[in-house]
Symmetry: C2
Subunit: 337 residues, 2 copies
Amino acid sequence: MVNHLAIVGATGAVGQEVLSLLSQRKTRVGQTSLLASARSVGTELALDGRMIPVRELTDASFEGVDCAIFSAGAERSRRFGPIAASAGALVIDNSSAFRMEPEVPLVVPEINPGDLKNHRGIIANPNCSTIILAVAVWPLHRANRVTRIVVSTYQAASGAGAAAMEELRTQSGEFLGGKPIVPKVFPHPIAFNLFSHNSAIGSDGYNTEERKLIDETRKIFHEPHLPVTATCIRVPVMRAHSESINLTFERPMSPDEAREILRGAPGVEIVDDAAGNRFPMPIEASGRDEVLIGRIRQDASHPDRRGIDLFVSGDQLRKGAALNALQILECLTLDSR
Amino acid sequence: MVNHLAIVGATGAVGQEVLSLLSQRKTRVGQTSLLASARSVGTELALDGRMIPVRELTDASFEGVDCAIFSAGAERSRRFGPIAASAGALVIDNSSAFRMEPEVPLVVPEINPGDLKNHRGIIANPNCSTIILAVAVWPLHRANRVTRIVVSTYQAASGAGAAAMEELRTQSGEFLGGKPIVPKVFPHPIAFNLFSHNSAIGSDGYNTEERKLIDETRKIFHEPHLPVTATCIRVPVMRAHSESINLTFERPMSPDEAREILRGAPGVEIVDDAAGNRFPMPIEASGRDEVLIGRIRQDASHPDRRGIDLFVSGDQLRKGAALNALQILECLTLDSR
């Protein structure tokens, strides 16, 4: 068990989800500290029926802490993550701060739990879109090497935090009421609209979110040269991300074979009812641990049957963030029992 | 000019757009008849400031009509299209009824206007998603043969008609008000959700919408074996469709070359501001004639620079339907002057 767990960014969308999952999963934790910026001090959050006060995140916050789950953005992770690790806390970091550092394991427990043993105090939780892609593709890749991934995302407002979800609500009401829309959290209107993920565009034309999807998938799969291209789009959905995934395999792969492999795979559920026209949808993936997978079909553009198309939805706050972090914690505490 | 134009399905979303474009484009038309089902009789619609009564669509509706634009669904086109053609009217059909018949030209005027001359009384207007894809890809294909297309769509409610747009509004209000959502037009909730296009799934695993995208693009391009795979998704957007398009070319193609080719191409506008993070968005494509194209970049999964990724938005009711039909009409009437 964990004697003293710190949740950094406790008041954010991911932090709240960590709290809710801690109760549901009965993760064995002695003491829990909730840490956030000064403006959240005074807030109390519920954990297992008890109210816990939020304390300010400072250099001194990690004394006696065994494990700290960071979900407060890359800047705070870069500033406070090394301090927490030096104080002896195992850091599980939800931000992008350390993911691509060679000595930091980047882990999806269903895929590469073995990488955890190499940690030096900091473990990185992958980007939400990456986790959802990786959980769906890994079982197939293990059976028949994937030689190319073309992915287009349909990303929910939750990926940009609680304020972005609130903006989607507010703007939608304004639009329906015929009022003018003034974007604040997102740079463009999100209500009844969609747009290219608003992260910085690199010299290669990919935005940071797409780069994460490409580079993190390669690192998690231990396939440093896996050909991946990604297009990341924000859509007016509240909290689960969806992805249209086109896969090329080394050898032919039939939809039945893919279905059979995925049926036995951890962390996924097949929702692929062609007769009833029922496939993965974000409202059904929300609040679920599993990544929903459907529209499993032979890619007609590959005459040699080496292509498979998929459509998936996964809860961005759960498996895409909080759940994966807790699963990492559980892997480590089970090992040390 | 057209002496007598009939608009079949005048009260629908596409019919209304045809009326609005007729005024804006100053298409030279003598008399206009508005036809719809019996329940719309009594309605009057505005054209160029005059109110025109809607009449019931019957077998006798096409006497003296030169041209009939059908936007009333495939069933009505199959029933009344041949009657209109027999009565001497040139039929421009927005439905899927005749698109794949070998003797029916399927035309996007920017691409294959030459096919119009082979008509035998009926000309088919392609599916909205197909037109938007085709207009964006054709100029590149002509310069450097496209050998594979992987496309994922983000389709607006408008594609399912005016009632579907109203359902998106109503459901969004219900969701925001905490009321239960009861889908009527769509089989699944559309507010703050998305789902696989709800057309029938074939034995190959593709739905009808995806089949249209694949088969119609091949017919318009005169490339009967062009490798295309498509995933069609309905999103909670009001009226413009977006598409994430991955292209493979016969020879290397750089983003600059692609941009240069598209800059001079008809029917498209480049919206590709990486520094300002401004790319095609459905709210900006709505009400526009051009298909907006952006996120033009080298596909990193092709080491030999033969891949290009694009993201496009186009007004589904305009270029995706009404505008393309009127452009076909204009091609034919200009020819016969």
